[in-house]
């Protein structure tokens, strides 16, 4: 197992800059998730670490050594793809043995069989070992693909959206299994996904990537509660964080004069006054929009979505729509007018122009 470091990596494809000045550190034994939309540069990053591509500038350090000049095989990292890439006419056992039989490696027959047995036990696919891979379900195939990485006992696991071809229920199950596996192996994982639920639920740390740049690196808690800009705020979390554009006036953010004015805690108002122009974007998550008597603000119910344990209510104030999470048992009807308020300690503020977080507002 090993620690991984990327230092100021830039990668261009012709005139398109895929990655610019990307730096990140993955600790030994850490589950690091690289999260971003399609085209953000996630897969490019994986390919550079694996040695399938070379950066234009910057360095890649694995286990303390600069691996820039090393071949893919020498780097001793394992890639698991979205597509299973198994040999269809071979059994599961043969597929698992395959990476150990390459001519670069000299394993004895006993070593090979014990590694395969160990991997099969870890992944709970012992009963499938003699089956041909074209007779497996999607979830089983993905387990075997992961098994092919495990038998090698690589220093680092690189995973490129390994669950995205599976259906929702299976993804949910494999999410927990993968996290469990990583903890058992104590392995260093770099896991790439566009799915924020996967990132939040599995990552020890998340690096959010957009347009080839790292926007924020932090624990799931930090990313969710202290997003560095409006991109992170809306990309992570479902529903997306509500963003309202307003003007700072007398300690209040005025979104719609008289109808949507949000008082701001004094120390925060002070900080905002010194740090920014008077236009701000206020961010608040749906669970911090509190619907109920004594709210002080009023909104018209535009829509109600049932989500089982809770409902998500869309409130309309003038032309502004915002989402609130309420308990499932709350009776609430469309078109009615309801009182609501915001949890004052959970308000976030962003620069109206750049979208960057304002102030050093602390989590209450």
């Amino acid at each position: 197992m090993a620690q991984v470091e990327l230092r100021n990596i830039t990668k261009k494809f012709r005139r398109h800059t895929a990655l610019s000045e990307l730096s990140l550190e993955i600790a030994d034994g850490e589950f690091f998730v690289l999260l971003g939309p399609t085209g953000a540069g996630k897969t490019t990053t994986l390919r550079l670490i694996a040695g399938l591509d070379a950066p234009d500038s910057g360095s890649i350090v694995i286990g303390g050594a600069d691996v820039g000049k090393w071949s893919a095989a020498e780097r001793d990292v394992a890639l698991v793809f979205q597509y299973y890439s198994l040999y269809p006419h071979y059994t599961v056992r043969e597929n698992l043995e395959f990476p150990l039989k390459s001519k670069h490696r000299r394993f004895t027959a006993e070593e090979i069989s014990s590694r395969v047995a160990r991997a099969a036990k870890t992944l709970r696919i012992e009963h499938l070992l003699e089956r041909k891979t074209d007779r497996l379900s999607g979830g089983e195939m993905q387990r075997v693909s992961i098994g092919r990485a495990i038998v090698r006992e690589p220093r680092v696991f690189l995973m490129d959206e390994p669950l995205s071809n599976l259906d929702a229920k299976l993804r949910e199950i494999l999410r927990a299994e993968l996290k469990d596996l990583q903890m058992k192996l104590g392995a260093t994982f770099l896991y790439v996904t566009h799915d924020q639920v996967e990132a939040m639920s599995m990552g020890d740390k998340i690096g959010v990537l957009n347009h080839g740049r790292i926007v924020q690196i932090g624990t799931p808690h930090q990313i969710y509660h202290q997003p560095r800009d409006t991109f992170v705020a809306t990309f992570v979390g479902s529903p997306a964080m509500n963003l309202l554009s307003g003007v700072m006036r007398d300690g209040r953010v005025v979104v719609v004069p008289g109808k949507l004015e949000i008082p701001v805690q004094r120390e925060i108002a002070g900080e905002l006054a010194t740090s920014a122009a008077d236009r701000v974007t206020l961010g608040v998550r749906s669970e911090d929009v509190v619907v109920g008597p004594g709210g002080g603000l009023e909104g018209q119910v535009y829509g109600v979505e049932n989500h089982g344990v809770e409902k998500i209510v869309t409130l309309k104030v003038d032309e502004h729509l915002l989402k609130a999470t309420v308990p499932a048992r709350m009776a609430i009807s469309v078109d009615s007018t309801v009182p609501f308020t915001f949890n004052p300690s959970k308000l976030r503020f962003f620069d109206a122009q750049t979208g960057a977080k304002l102030g050093s507002v602390k989590e209450a």
Partner: protein, 369 residues
């Protein structure tokens, strides 16, 4: 506007049935979602209503009239597909107005109807653009506008937002529902996504392998699933289900998870009800959603000690896997409530949120405590 009814509808493909004895009533103005995994027969059902697919037996009524012998074009139904199917050389305005060409409406009436639909869909400013200049979400809005402008009796949609990204889907869900409330066309909406179904439906019809499993409001199918399939298809995270047993105790009922991985105390009425409901001495499957697994950091009467395994922080709350002996049950807790994997906490199952199923048939015993 019109009600739709399917009576004993069957569809075969060779020896295999695609739809079996399907009875379903969709009320006038209702938003019904047909939900199920791929291959369950939901799209075939939708296509049969539209007249794009023949049925082998049964009847389909729209507004009380049998329609299965009529041509698709004569059914006064609009269909929206996952793929946008817009005319690339026409503007958004012309695309929406297209279905009105064949009608003999005056230009002024056409214009008024196109603009009214565009306003409802919030695409007034995009009417001069061609599809290639529109985003995926806007293209789908135009496609829906084209369906609505005819004021059809019924609107049929086949995964209309399935091709959009997660954030846009979230937005479009609310928009589509809002549009439905404004135009009130009877709507049948097909999806495999239970979140979409729960969020949008007045009524959900869940299908599996060609067989209708349950019809009910989102709250009904979530809180009172008819069988294990529905129980585990609806809801995320998936409902915990473990095999177990129910035994009489002194002043309470014992619920055993697994072989005897954990023994939990339930009200004494439970055993009586199980005896009443069970025709054979089958084993029982115990189902509980993560929010029905109650967790405490201290020992409380009726709670048993369990070890936290994996913690998934999802933002507003955490999903914590708890080890009840060898049985893993997922619970939903406040964010950060259980600090780390390996911690011992106390847990019990909320009796009002615990379901009991027949392990052989998968049917719910319909026990309410």
């Amino acid at each position: 506007m019109a009600a739709i009814a399917l009576k004993d509808v069957e569809k075969y493909f060779g020896d295999n049935y695609i739809i079996r004895k399907l009875n379903l009533e969709i009320e006038d103005r209702e938003f019904l979602v047909l939900l199920g995994p791929s291959g369950c027969g939901k799209t075939t059902t939708l296509r049969a209503i539209a007249g794009l697919e023949d049925i082998d037996s049964g009847e389909i009524l729209i507004g009380g009239q049998p329609v299965h012998k009529r041509q698709a074009a004569d059914r006064d139904i609009a269909f929206v597909f996952q793929l946008f199917a817009l005319y690339p050389h026409l503007t958004a305005y012309e695309n929406i107005a297209f279905p009105l060409r064949a009608t003999k409406e005056s230009k002024a009436v056409v214009d008024q109807r196109v603009r009214a639909v565009a306003k409802a869909l919030r695409i007034q400013t995009l009417l001069d653009k061609r599809p290639s200049a529109l985003s995926g979400g806007d293209m789908q809005r135009v496609a829906i506008g084209r369906a609505l402008v005819r004021r059809p009796k019924a609107l049929l949609m086949d995964e209309p937002i399935g091709a959009l990204d997660a954030k846009l889907r979230e937005e479009m869900r609310a928009e589509l529902k809002h549009i439905h409330r404004q135009n009130e066309a009877t709507t049948v909406y097909v999806t495999h996504d239970q979140v979409e179904a729960m969020a949008m439906a007045d009524k959900i019809a869940i299908m599996n392998e060609g067989v209708l499993q349950q019809v009910g409001s989102p709250a009904e199918v979530y809180h009172y699933p008819a069988n294990l399939f529905v129980a585990q298809f609806i809801g995320s995270p998936i409902m915990n289900v473990v095999n177990g047993a129910v035994r009489p105790g002194e002043g309470y009922t014992q619920v055993l998870l697994g072989e005897d991985d954990a023994v939990l105390r339930f009200p004494s009425a439970l055993y009586q009800k199980v005896v009443e409901h069970r025709h054979e001495s089958d084993e029982i499957a115990i189902g509980v959603r993560p929010e029905g697994v109650l967790v405490a950091r201290q020992s409380i009467d009726g709670y048993i000690p369990v070890e936290a395994h994996i913690i998934e922080p999802l933002g507003p709350y955490d999903i914590v896997d708890l080890k009840f002996g060898r049985q893993l049950l997922r619970s939903r807790t406040a964010s950060g409530y259980v600090e780390k994997a390996g911690d011992v906490v106390w847990a019990r199952l909320d009796e009002k949120q615990t379901h009991f199923f027949n392990t052989r048939t998968g049917e719910s015993l319909q026990i309410k405590l």
